[in-house]
């Protein structure tokens, strides 16, 4: 009798645990269109400012960091700020609130009647390493994005069935014509792999989700720009080619030219099994923007194979002096798009690394 009772208790505990674990997959489905944000633009010149690896945490002097960022935003005067991950590290709710308040106010102040300044955000591997629940950043951004006349371009649903915290696109339309599409992708954080934690990757479900967005788009004559944090395996190829002085060799993959620096090894995710580069390429992505490796900020004109067009593989310029960094290479990246241009090719001249001395 006692044995039966114990068995019953054990089975119940096991079932309870499994049911709780599996309840995580109990999600709502959302329409594809809900993940697609659109900007109707009147001016053909559109400037994107990429900020990355800001790393605000308990040890940061926020006033000092905000002053540096504000000056850079003012100097760049972009149409859109894209933050590509690791904005926070060992942070707390107050710091997150302060940062988004600062960003929102800055964008509002610098917006004019003829030009509105927007901002958007994706995650890095460190953003959820702090004293807050893991959806706090998204809740904050969703609340800004839901305001009237908002400057925040952001959408996510807590209970959707997608991995990652950002899986949306921003379409840049000019004269009612889709010219550029920005894919804002969470490349996730870590992955338990053979007794160590590797960096994670953009998951298969996320890529399928973006493919569905692409399939549901009637006008496919656009250039895609993908923004994410953890670099793809093609970044490793580009880095190796440049650092081994094999630029412009006959074999593929090849780097035709590059600007900026590769000063450390690339640190991609644990696997390439989902082929994010090829799949994003098939969704018209010709410019890839990652963060993560603080000492790399190169922009490479990369050709993976003969049958593929040239693409740009770009590393972010580290945007503050928090945690490890190159003192002489802090600042931001500028991406200049011409919405009047009908040529579907990309060029390194569209991208500029801007280095700003932190001490000044």
């Amino acid at each position: 009798m006692k044995k039966t009772k114990n068995k019953f208790l054990f089975t119940n505990l096991l079932l309870f645990s499994i049911s709780l674990i599996s309840s995580c997959g109990n999600n709502d489905n959302h329409e594809i269109s809900e993940y697609m944000l659109k900007l109707e633009l009147n001016n053909p010149n559109f400037k994107i400012m990429q900020l990355s690896d800001i790393h605000l945490g308990l040890e940061s002097n926020l006033d000092e960091q905000f002053e540096y960022l504000e000056n850079n935003i003012k100097n760049c005067d972009p149409n859109l700020i894209v933050i590509t991950g690791d904005t926070f590290l060992f942070s707390n709710e107050n710091i997150i609130n302060s940062f988004f308040e600062f960003l929102d106010n800055t964008c509002k102040e610098l917006s004019t009647n003829s030009k509105k300044m927007y901002y958007t955000f994706t995650y890095g591997n460190h953003d959820n390493q702090g004293d807050y629940y893991s959806y706090f950043i998204n809740d904050t951004l969703n609340s800004y994005a839901s305001k009237d006349d908002t400057n925040c371009l952001f959408v996510d649903f807590m209970n959707d069935d997608l991995p990652g915290y950002t899986n949306f696109t921003i379409d840049l339309n000019y004269n009612n014509d889709l010219k550029y599409r920005l894919y804002i992708i969470d490349s996730n954080s870590y992955y338990y792999n053979n007794l160590v934690y590797d960096y994670d990757v953009i998951k298969d479900e996320q890529l399928t989700h973006f493919e569905n967005i692409y399939k549901n788009t009637s006008d496919k004559d656009f250039i895609g720009l993908a923004f994410f944090h953890i670099p793809l395996y093609e970044y490793v190829d580009a880095n190796n080619i440049v650092t081994n002085n094999k630029e412009n060799s006959d074999s593929y993959p090849k780097v035709l030219s590059h600007t900026g620096f590769y000063l450390e090894e690339s640190a991609p995710g644990y696997t390439d099994e989902f082929h994010p580069f090829d799949r994003l390429y098939n969704m018209n992505v010709r410019m890839f923007f990652a963060g993560h490796d603080h000492l790399n900020n190169a922009n490479s004109l990369f050709k993976k194979s003969e049958d593929k067009q040239e693409v740009i593989l770009s590393y972010a310029v580290k945007s503050t002096n928090q945690i490890y960094h190159n003192e002489n290479a802090l600042g931001y990246k500028e991406i200049n798009l011409n919405l009047n241009d009908d040529k579907n090719v990309v060029s390194l001249s569209q991208i500029r690394n801007v280095y700003v001395d932190y001490e000044n």
């Binding site: 790393h55 308990l58 002097n61 707390n92 893991s134 870590y190």
Partner: protein
């Protein structure tokens, strides 16, 4: 002089308070050290102030154990101890107050107690007040009572498989630090309890970080005197059951969701994600298995010793 029940309750109360402060302090100390190192040693003055504040409950706890379980302070010893610790606390406090601008600017209202309305780490100020009060009470007690207090202390030698006293003490301190750190993580996990809404595994993380709870029971149990065979038996069975329960929970999580610490533990397992190695999980498994084995050996020894003492009793009676 026999210690009164009132005194014992007072001492026990102080130990519980110090133990809680110690657990939060160890976790915050680890966190502060990780942040300080990863941020390339910025803001040294407030960090040193904070480190002093977080170290003090550990010092206080160890000295409290020393005087209540082993040897009471002499008058000179008490004066030296109180002077040094008070100076350190005041130094830490001054360094924190000097860094008013830093705390104001970076919204750091303390690593655990985060009231959000005062630009100072309130938890550290509370610690310093408690510890200064304890110093005052120590001086008062030392000078009031000339006789040495007869405190309760009788070690239940759960670890008597390890017979070296020094090793035993070092081992106990390591266990205390490890379990204190995880217990601090348990308190910190309440900061992000909303994670349960996103991932139900989060609630199990709280259980997982409670694994070294056994060690806290070990320390607490040692405070009681007049341990009988029955109380030792109950204690051993409780520790084995708790360990077994936590082991099952941990194994279910590891087997059904190997990424569960990644999904839910990033804010708590600081070193793991700084080094990209699941150190926290390895320590938990080690702690679980080690204490489980020790407890089972203790149980077997306990039962054997009872049997042999019964036999001796029988033969004496015969």
């Amino acid at each position: 002089m026999k210690t009164s029940k009132k005194d014992l309750t007072f001492i026990f109360g102080i130990e519980i308070i110090l133990l809680i402060l110690l657990t939060i302090s160890i976790y915050n100390l680890l966190k502060m050290a990780t942040v300080y190192i990863t941020s390339h040693y910025q803001n040294t003055i407030p960090v040193i102030g904070s480190v002093i504040m977080y170290l003090m409950p550990i010092v206080f706890y160890i000295f409290h154990i020393k005087r209540s379980k082993h040897k009471e302070f002499s008058k000179i010893g008490a004066i030296i101890y109180v002077s040094i610790t008070s100076i350190l606390i005041l130094t830490g406090l001054i360094m924190i107050l000097m860094s008013f601008n830093y705390f104001w600017n970076n919204n750091n209202n303390g690593n655990y107690v985060n009231f959000g309305f005062l630009p100072l780490p309130i938890d550290m100020i509370i610690y310093s007040v408690i510890m200064l009060l304890l110093n005052v009470s120590l001086i008062y007690k030392t000078f009031k009572n000339n006789e040495k207090l007869n405190y309760y202390y009788e070690l239940f030698n759960a670890y008597d498989v390890i017979s070296y006293k020094t090793f035993n003490i070092i081992f106990s301190i390591i266990l205390l630090l490890i379990s204190g750190c995880y217990f601090g993580m348990f308190f910190a996990s309440f900061n992000s309890l909303k994670n349960v809404l996103i991932n139900a595994n989060y609630i199990f993380l709280i259980f997982a970080v409670l694994i070294p709870f056994y060690n806290i029971i070990y320390f607490t149990y040692n405070y009681f005197k007049n341990k009988t065979y029955k109380s030792n038996l109950i204690y051993t069975i409780i520790t084995i059951s708790l360990n077994f329960l936590f082991l099952i929970i941990f194994l279910i999580l590891e087997l059904t969701s190997p990424n569960f610490v990644v999904q839910v533990g990033k804010p708590l397992f600081l070193i793991d994600f700084a080094l990209s190695i699941p150190v926290g999980s390895y320590i938990l498994v080690f702690d679980l298995l080690f204490t489980l084995i020790i407890s089972v050996i203790s149980l077997v020894k306990l039962i054997r010793s009872k049997k042999s003492s019964n036999k001796i009793e029988e033969s004496t009676n015969n």
